[in-house]
């Protein structure tokens, strides 16, 4: 039986073969879309915005506002990173809506993003408090707590990565099972050449698992990144 893991599409024949999975291909498409959008939308910038520039300004304004609201006025410079993270995750999570495998339904993607958050937390924490002052925080409230504090910090990227992965892959598995089941029912009533039941019923589940959970998890991931970085910094 075939599993739910990402399929390997082809292999790059160097270093003994680097497998390129569905996840990577879909991620390339997402990246191309975002880069293309960025280039297209900022090609002609006017003082008086017209056309697509209006929409882009709404997005940028919203991200700036959200960052200031969550992290504070002094950490406004994080807005570009948070904005790209938000747009990437949003597009990646909604990828299931067009019937392809969301890139975030792969632990490699989500754990990579969570590791970026993890390194940001510690890099900016050490930068704003000084390396020694930051390291001292691990020995509080007393010195024996050091291993516990380290374990607690290490659990942050794991829980961040796993929660996004779990939500997305759970939705993916349920949707695949639902489509297979509806195909089976259609075949049982004599319509195997035209699985009519697959047409309307999955809509509700797509709304929940792709649209609702996808947008919510995107928002939570970005929000938690902001909260953790700003906690580490002050």
């Amino acid at each position: 039986m075939e599993g739910f893991g990402p399929k390997i599409m082809f292999e790059i024949p160097i270093f003994g073969g680097i497998p390129i999975t569905e996840t990577i291909i879909n991620m390339w498409i997402v990246m191309a879309l975002l880069v293309g959008f960025a280039i297209f939308a900022t090609k002609r910038l006017d003082k008086l915005p017209k056309g697509i520039q209006n929409y882009v300004e709404v997005i940028v304004d919203a991200m700036n506002k959200l960052t200031i609201q969550t992290m504070g006025e002094d950490k406004k410079s994080f807005a570009p990173y948070m904005g790209s993270l938000f747009l990437f995750l949003l597009l990646a999570n909604l990828w299931g809506l067009i019937g392809l495998r969301p890139p975030t339904a792969d632990l490699n993607t989500t754990l990579a993003l969570a590791m970026m958050t993890f390194f940001m937390i510690h890099f900016f924490g050490a930068k704003s408090k000084g390396v020694l002052g930051y390291a001292k925080g691990f020995f509080e409230p007393f010195i024996l707590m050091f291993p516990l504090n380290v374990m607690g910090e290490l659990s942050t990227p794991i829980s961040l990565g796993f929660r996004l992965f779990g939500n997305m892959v759970g939705g993916l598995i349920i949707m695949s099972l639902l489509y297979a089941g509806l195909g089976g029912v259609s075949a049982a009533i004599g319509l195997e050449f035209f699985p009519v039941l697959q047409a309307g019923i999955p809509f509700v589940f797509h709304m929940y698992f792709d649209l609702f959970a996808g947008v919510l998890q995107t928002f939570i991931f970005v929000m938690l990144t902001m909260v953790f970085v700003s906690i580490a910094m002050d």
């Binding site: 959200l66 969550t70 992290m71 374990m151 607690g152 659990s155 929000m223 902001m226 906690i231």
Partner: protein, 75 residues
Amino acid sequence: MKKKNNTLSSLSLITYIGVHMTVPIVAGLFAGQWIDNKLNTSPIFLFVFIILGVVVSFMNLFKVATKDMPPKKGK
């Protein structure tokens, strides 16, 4: 000190509590099992790491819960 704790970030933290609580315990379980396998000391490290995991998960929760409290004076 400006006020910057809004409802949205608190909501995100609330939804995070469940995962944040279980991850150290499960991680402790696997770490303990792995060390036990390497050193043939089953089940000492398993118990040690599970207990550590429980303590760490409590600490994580404590940190999340007391994040917005003003720090004690006279320190």
